[in-house]
């Protein structure tokens, strides 16, 4: 792999711009010079060139890496121009273990330093005595090498749309997952954070093209394996995102949602380098609901019961007389907690072998009590070269523990709803008449104080879930250089994951009228294996101005997951000790699972890149996949793509002092997506879950039938993608711009066709029938200015994604013969043809009735009173169809959950030893359904938001309806609170200061005595500021159900994290 790119790189040298335009040597020379001195320097070079000194000079020097470590084995070559201007090599040597070298050189000679994994460094010899050279690793911008799947290319030669993550920015984020770290960094990549400890982020590339699953495929060092929270982001060296069909087609049937290619850190030849990074922080919820304290609550509730003429519950009446309880439920459940992340790594090697070994620990307790996530991981990457053979492996071992309450209590709903006049816990609540089955005395509603809000703390104490994921993932490869232009590679990958989950349910309840189950313990063990075998041939050849390279190969994947689960009720509780194993429980045992899902796929893959004179680039990619998850007739799929690029800046006619590089490119192709399906869905199966009871013994009798209608014609989802883009480098390579326009049309999208319930199918089959189009523009720009003491760079990007449903398949026809063209997972959300997926579909509100006259005058054209039950202070709804009544026929589209614009902005600056990093993300134009506010503002048996402003005859200038009890005598109260109205929709736009970090680099002199090469201390604040009108806790919402994407059903908000950290190398 490295050899391969090295060849590429060497070749590119001849197309380099003239030395003086080349930033490399100037910025890399130690003590880089201020601008004025550069000018002087240039003049000096010119003079030297004129005088052309002829006698050779013996020069010694040293080559180091950016950490000041000597580099052993660096090739030093002296090249001299003859009279025709052609350069020939006259001398070559290697550095010794101290990085030292000696050469004989003429003034005006070029000296080129090259070393695997580092940028070539070239200087024109001007008579210096001591050369101190610092090589920089392959890093950013156009010179960087990009992994594109089975191959690497220079970023500048990319023909497809490939996003390269700036890891410097990504690693600044306190992130549990890779995805979390790259929010806002790459255009076209949407990341939504999950704030719960151990929660995976949602990542989507170029919008959502599937109704089932929009997650990209992850490839880690050539192994196709999920980069979820079990992977330590600190081990990652680079992340590339394959966005268009040309880039991703090499992964064929699994690439439809884009591909994220992750390369982990590798060792470099040289002395062992120990790196230590540690971060410790505190996190909290940036925002909680502003709800009433006891005094305000009681006053408001009193008003509410009085308005409805209903007697107050006894406890409210008592507390009104003598308020003894004032519980801040949110304060009781939310917390400031620790956030820790440590990695200790050692790397090094010799020219024939390199290693990288790192151990890490990550701990995140989360902002809500009862949660915890920890991860310990070990990574070992090694590579050995001998002659034509390279052998290497990348291996990761990780153990993760995740604890949280069971019972399905969403803390964000319940803690805002819970009444302030209920205590968290008290002996008063042990009374078995008022509070049956509540031996712990947890505070819950009662008939004297009805509320159905859950006591989250009770759930956390009574129902504990702990998960442990033990995982080994890695691959080993053998690479043989068969010829100068041909390399064979065998790659074997294995991922094995052993997951264990335990739930322990103690006695008691957490909600009024909860039915307590028996105590129980339930355990689930599962084993996941993912096996990858690949044989590939890489070729790479140039003749004249033609350059051709590529790969062909075969890939086989097998994945298998087995579950076994068991449970037993009646835990023994002896003298306060609860015995929590299945073996110790004394009740009835049951098996809760025991299935095995297995599938395989075969893929033949190929890619050819052709480059003529660095001007015309063509890439043809194709893959043929076969997958066992489909029936024999649908097992094989073809995924071709083509891309072309034209580097205009290389044309003779192109003359610009401003533009250093200008390339336009275009691609078209087809990808597949198969990972939404579990195996065997194409064939009907017999359900054995039903049980009949009969006979005098009333014993259960096995029942069997086909419970789910199946679809034998299942096949992959397809994505047809067109991409047109341009890459421009300007202003002495300081400014890089990339613009892409794309059109991605999903076809044969898997839909669970909403079968009518009258078919009696318990669940619906997938049908390849949908179509979704995503179009958009991606723009990114990066500017850097490193010429002065204050060095800075600024990168920004924006993305527009226009999502449109093109087909939802055959949903039948209505009474007028019109096609039904929508899906509707709930009665306020629709995915309808011609509209964005999961658009809101609601009854519109139109203010508040101010008087009985207004109610009576609100008639349709036939004179029918539209809301006859309404009273002053009730919400007026729009009778859209004019039929004189408000019902579901009055719904209409009211916005979409998809942002019209997403943006990211990153700023890095440094002045002497200080550095600053600032990252912003912005999301604009989407609507969120605030389902957490809905019950609060419905006023029924819950606490109230402290800033509600209910209508009263005296307080008429408000949008909040009157306070009333919904007890059946006042039907318009439930109308006010209908779920399918725009009352619950809110603007989801926000701009967020994602990260602010200030760092300090300690002086090398100071630390060198302690053999510390580099030490950096930093403080950072994450999610410090969010500018939004959204009333909920966090507008960064991603509902797991793609069909209801924008519904905030208590989504866990991102934490605000204050942390301090250190990074040291020695």
């Amino acid at each position: 792999m490295n050899n391969h790119f090295y060849q590429n790189y060497g070749r590119c040298e001849q197309y380099r711009p003239h030395l003086f335009k080349w930033r490399g040597p100037l910025t890399n020379v130690k003590n880089s010079l201020p601008f004025a001195r550069i000018l002087l320097f240039i003049v000096a070079i010119l003079i030297f060139n004129l005088t052309k000194a002829q006698s050779p000079v013996e020069v010694s020097g040293k080559v180091k890496d950016s950490y000041g470590l000597p580099l052993n084995g660096v090739s030093v070559q002296v090249k001299r121009s003859n009279n025709q201007g052609n350069q020939t090599k006259v001398l070559g040597t290697l550095t010794d273990e101290n990085g030292a070298f000696n050469i004989s050189v003429h003034a005006g000679d070029s000296v080129v330093f090259s070393f695997v994994g580092f940028k070539n460094y070239r200087l024109v010899y001007q008579g210096q005595q001591n050369l101190e050279i610092t090589l920089t690793p392959i890093g950013s911008l156009q010179d960087s090498v990009v992994v594109i799947g089975y191959q690497t290319v220079l970023k500048k030669d990319l023909t497809g749309a490939t996003g390269v993550v700036n890891m410097e920015n990504a690693t600044k984020i306190s992130a549990g997952t890779v995805a979390e770290g790259i929010q806002g960094l790459v255009p076209g990549v949407t990341v939504r954070n999950g704030g719960a400890p151990g929660q995976n982020s949602v990542i989507e590339i170029r919008g959502v093209g599937s109704f089932q699953n929009a997650s990209p495929l992850y490839v880690i060092d050539g192994m196709l394996s999920d980069a979820n929270v079990t992977i330590n982001p600190d081990d990652i060296a680079s992340v590339q995102i394959l966005k268009d069909a040309s880039a991703a087609a090499i992964y064929g049937s699994r690439a439809g949602n884009g591909v994220v290619i992750i390369t982990t850190k590798k060792g470099h030849a040289g002395e062992p380098l120990v790196s230590l990074s540690g971060k410790y922080g505190f996190q909290q919820l940036p925002k909680t609901w502003e709800v009433m304290n006891a005094a305000s609550f009681l006053k408001t509730a009193q008003q509410q019961y009085a308005n409805s003429g209903v007697a107050m519950p006894k406890d409210i009446a008592n507390q009104l007389q003598n308020n003894t309880i004032n519980t801040d439920w949110q304060k009781a459940v939310y917390r400031t907690s620790a956030y820790q992340d440590y990695t200790l790594g050692i790397s090094g090697g010799s020219p024939s072998a390199t290693y990288y070994v790192a151990g890490s620990y990550y701990g995140n307790q989360g902002t809500v009590v009862g949660n915890n996530f920890t991860r310990a991981s070990l990574r070992i990457n090694t590579e050995v070269h001998k002659g034509r053979v390279t052998f290497g492996e990348n291996l990761m071992l990780t153990d993760n523990n995740n604890d949280y309450p069971g019972g399905g209590v969403n803390v964000f709903y319940n803690s805002s709803q819970m009444l302030p006049i209920i205590q968290v816990k008290s002996d008063d609540y042990k009374d078995p008449i008022q509070y049956p089955s509540n031996p712990g005395g947890w505070g819950i509603g009662s008939s004297n104080n009805p509320t159905y809000a859950n006591n989250y703390l009770a759930a956390a104490a009574l129902d504990k879930v702990s998960n442990e994921y033990g995982k080994l993932v890695g691959n080993a490869y053998l690479q043989i250089k068969l010829a100068k232009w041909l390399t064979y590679k065998f790659n074997a990958g294995l991922e094995v994951s052993y997951d264990y989950s335990q739930e322990i349910r103690d006695t008691g309840i957490w909600r009024y009228t909860n039915q307590p189950p028996e105590t129980f313990v339930s355990e689930e063990r599962s084993r996941f294996t993912n096996l990858l075998l690949e044989n590939t041939f890489n070729f790479d050849h140039h003749f004249g101005k033609h350059y051709i390279n590529g790969v062909v190969g075969f890939s086989r994947t097998q994945q298998e997951r087995e579950y076994t689960g068991a449970a037993r009720n009646l835990l023994q509780d002896l003298n306060g000790t609860l015995y929590t194993t299945i073996g110790s429980a004394i009740g009835s045992p049951s098996a809760t699972g025991g299935i095995n899902n297995k599938w395989r796929s075969h893929g033949w893959l190929g890619r050819v890149n052709y480059n003529y004179a660095d001007r015309y680039l063509l890439t043809l990619t194709g893959r043929i996949d076969q997958d066992s998850r489909f029936g024999p007739e649908y097992r094989t799929g073809y995924f071709p793509s083509a891309a072309a690029a034209w580097r205009i800046s290389k044309e003779d006619f192109f003359k610009s002092n401003t533009v250093n590089d200008l390339k336009i490119r275009g691609s078209y192709g087809q990808l597949g997506f198969s990972d939404a399906l579990t195996p065997w869905q194409y064939v009907g199966f017999i359900n054995s879950s039903t049980r009949a009871i009969y006979g005098t013994d009333q014993k259960p009798q096995l029942g069997q039938y086909q419970s789910i209608i199946t679809n034998p014609d299942l096949h992959w989802e397809k994505r047809n993608q067109l991409d047109i883009g341009t890459d421009i480098t300007l202003l002495d390579n300081r400014l890089n711009l990339t613009v892409d326009w794309y059109n991605s049309t999903s076809k044969d999208v898997l839909l669970i066709v909403p079968l009518p319930q009258y078919l009696g199918s318990s669940g619906s089959p997938f049908v390849n029938t949908g179509s979704i189009r995503n179009t958009g523009i991606e723009f990114s720009a990066a500017y850097h200015n490193h010429d002065r003491a204050f060095k800075w760079d600024l990168a920004g990007n924006f993305t527009t994604i226009k999502n449109k449903v093109l087909s939802v398949g055959n949903q039948g026809a209505d009474a007028n013969g019109n096609k039904v063209n929508y899906l509707q997972p709930a009665n306020f959300v629709r995915s309808q043809v011609g509209h964005p997926m999961a658009s809101w579909y609601v009854i519109k509100t139109d203010g508040i009735f101010q008087s009985t006259d207004e109610v009576n005058n609100y008639k349709n054209k036939d004179g029918k009173i539209i809301q006859p039950n309404a009273k002053p202070g009730d919400i007026r709804f729009v009778d859209l169809n004019g039929d004189g009544q408000i019902n579901d026929d009055d719904r209409t589209f009211a916005g979409s959950p998809w942002p019209t614009l997403q943006a990211g902005l990153q700023f890095n600056g440094s002045y002497h030893n200080f550095s600053i990093n600032m990252q912003w993300v912005g999301v604009f134009g989407n609507k969120i359904y605030d389902d957490v506010r809905r019950p609060l503002d419905s006023y029924q048996l819950v606490n109230f938001r402290s800033d509600i402003n209910p209508w009263t005859p005296e307080n008429t200038n408000t949008n909040d309806p009157r306070l009333a009890i919904d007890n059946g005598n006042d039907p318009s109260v439930s109308a006010n609170n209908m779920a399918q109205t725009d009352r619950w929709l809110e603007n989801g736009s926000y701009a967020r200061l994602r990260n602010l970090e200030i760092g300090y680099n300690f002086q090398t002199d100071f630390l060198s005595k302690m053999k510390i090469h580099n030490a950096r201390l930093f403080v950072s604040g994450q999610n410090l500021l969010t500018i939004t009108k959204y009333k909920g806790l966090d507008p960064d919402v991603a509902n797991n159900n793609l069909g209801m994407r924008g519904m905030d059903s208590g989504f866990w908000p991102s934490s605000r994290i204050y942390s301090v950290g250190i990074h040291m190398e020695f």
């Binding site: 007697a311 519950p313 008592n318 049956p436 009662s446 008939s447 068969l482 041909l486 064979y488 044989n535 041939f537 075969f554 049951s590 098996a591 809760t592 299935i595 095995n596 297995k598 066992s628 097992r635 195996p679 065997w680 017999i686 054995s688 879950s689 039903t690 049980r691 009949a692 009871i693 006979g695 009333q698 014993k699 259960p700 009798q701 029942g703 069997q704 039938y705 679809n711 909403p754 079968l755 009518p756 319930q757 009258y758 078919l759 009696g760 318990s762 669940g763 089959p765 019109n818 039904v820 509707q824 009665n827 019902n887 579901d888 029924q940 048996l941 007890n967 059946g968 039907p971 209908m978």
Partner: protein, 520 residues
């Protein structure tokens, strides 16, 4: 030489590649988790298991819990003081705004799941090579159950799609008119009656019988007001061969106790049993080890805080029992079997036991500040489904069978049919038989047709209160109107459209061929 080596290496690698690829058997993987449809419907056991799947349906949440809100609470017998306004609005005060209400549409869905199960049996079992008698019996059971589910649909929603074949996704049937839905029930029950056995051995008791089929057939005709056909159907039970099979049990309360299930009065029962490890009632997915095969209605009807009291009885029902004393001057014994209230024990609240504690000691008499204040002192709880006789609490899995069709119901319906046909005199003995079991005197002779019907209405309330038949009775008698608000305030909001439930909007969204019921 070197070149040759390369070529050999290259060829070997290519061969290896091709070798892996050509193995298409590698992609044939058997599903180890469940038998596929191609391996089923082959044996007599498969046929039997198919029938069992149909019987499993009445443990699903729609039929094991939610239907009772529709059949009992919605009628004038019941009302709701649930703190959950959804229940009050939809099942008490006729304020239905959500056509997809979970509590209602689960009943719809579960009925159709049952129908799909029956249709699979009826499509596949005829081809199975097996004992013809048993095969016919199984097909009869499937027809009975299909008819039974359609009967519910016809009474609750009226105009519904009728599917008689194994479902395919392309089924977009139109609405079938209520009368035609009943006609389909009639066909299924008739065909079932001709092949079903009169009774079963101990291992199979509880399955559909000939008597159940005739009983249901009669009920169909009653709802269609085809009284002479109804009388003909009931006749098999009341005066025909079934006369010797069925009888009234001596102790009325035995009809509601788990210990006396499937007795001689039982014509058709939902068979329930307790699964102590239950945690779900979706019998088509999830783990069967944790499947609830009981009814979950007791915690919903039981008094707070034992249960939720999401539904309870109207006080006027109690008064109906007090209108008349037994021949030996006592209170109608059916009253205490029907309700838990302050005087379940005649001596009053200090003696009336509510799950092991007296009505008084539970504090039900104290009403100040109670959010359901008006109801409390007058609170009457339906008792028939409850397990208060054997337990001090209620859980979601009650094993107590729901006696859907009792012989006394058949006798009263038969009498009603005869009276409607003008044969009032002939109807007397059947009513008197029911009254006699309660210790009441025979009816005075000479009641005219109208008076006899009025008397029958009283008889049905006292005999069948809280058993889920009241709504059908009110429909049949044409008594649904705001007039009922005198004894059930909820009916003040009643309008004619509420005679039928709205077709779920979900179904109409998917299949617009379906016509919504009138005025919805």
């Amino acid at each position: 030489m070197k070149k040759l080596k390369n070529i050999i290496l290259l060829t070997l690698s290519a061969a290896f590649l091709a070798g892996l690829g050509s193995c298409s058997k590698d992609l044939e993987i058997e599903n180890p988790n469940s038998p596929t449809i191609t391996n089923f419907w082959k044996t007599a056991q498969d046929a039997q298991n198919g029938i069992n799947a149909i019987y499993s349906t009445y443990h699903r949440v729609g039929l094991a819990r939610n239907e009772f809100f529709l059949t009992i609470i919605r009628s004038d017998e019941g009302f709701s003081t649930s703190p959950n306004p959804v229940l009050v609005n939809n099942f008490d005060v006729f304020n239905v705004t959500d056509y997809n209400l979970w509590e209602t549409t689960t009943v719809w869905q579960d009925l159709y799941i049952g129908i799909a199960r029956a249709n699979q049996v009826l499509d596949n079992v005829p081809q199975i090579y097996m004992d013809e008698t048993i095969k016919n019996q199984l097909l009869g059971e499937a027809k009975f159950m299909r008819g039974f589910f359609y009967y519910y649909l016809a009474t609750l929603w009226g105009n519904v799609p009728v599917l008689l074949k194994t479902s395919v996704p392309s089924d977009y049937p139109p609405t079938t008119k209520q009368a035609d839905v009943y006609a389909q029930c009639e066909k299924d029950f008739s065909e079932a009656a001709s092949v079903l056995p009169i009774s079963y051995d101990a291992a199979n008791v509880g399955r559909a019988t000939k008597g159940a089929a005739y009983g249901m057939l009669g009920k169909c005709y009653m709802q269609m007001h085809q009284y002479s056909k109804a009388a003909d159907a009931f006749n098999w039970l009341t005066e025909g061969a079934g006369k010797d099979v069925y009888d009234l049990v001596t102790n009325y309360r035995d009809n509601f106790l788990e210990s006396t299930e499937n007795n001689k009065e039982s014509v058709f029962e939902f068979q329930n049993a307790v699964n102590p490890t239950d945690n779900h009632d979706d019998d088509a997915s999830g783990n069967p080890d944790n499947l609830n095969y009981g009814t979950s209605i007791p915690p919903f009807f039981a008094p707070r805080p034992i249960g939720f009291t999401d539904g309870q009885a109207r006080r006027w029902c109690v008064w109906e029992f007090l209108k008349e004393k037994t021949t030996d001057g006592k209170r109608d014994p059916r009253l205490a079997a029907s309700f838990l209230y302050d005087s379940t024990d005649e001596r009053g609240p200090d003696y009336s036991m509510i799950y092991g504690q007296t009505f008084s000691s539970r504090g039900y008499a104290d009403v100040s500040g109670d959010p359901i204040a008006v109801a409390t002192t007058h609170t009457v709880y339906f008792r028939k489904f409850l397990n208060d006789a054997t337990s001090n609490g209620e859980v979601f899995h009650s094993g107590n069978n729901y006696r859907y069709l009792r012989y006394s119901d058949v006798l009263l319906l038969y009498a009603e049919a005869l009276n409607a046909m003008g044969e009032t005199t002939k109807a007397y003995p059947f009513v008197n038989r029911v009254r006699a079991r309660a210790g009441l005197a025979p009816l005075p002779a000479g009641l005219n047709q109208v008076a006899f019907l009025a008397q029958l209405k009283h008889e049905r309330i006292t005999e069948l209160c809280g058993e889920g038949h009241r709504w059908e009775d009110l429909v049949r008698w044409g008594d649904l109107s705001t007039k009922l608000s005198a004894r059930d305030q909820g009916f003040s909001h009643y309008t004619d459209k509420y005679a039928l439930l709205p077709i779920p909007q979900y179904e109409r969204d998917v299949n617009p061929n379906l016509v919504q019921n009138k005025d919805w």
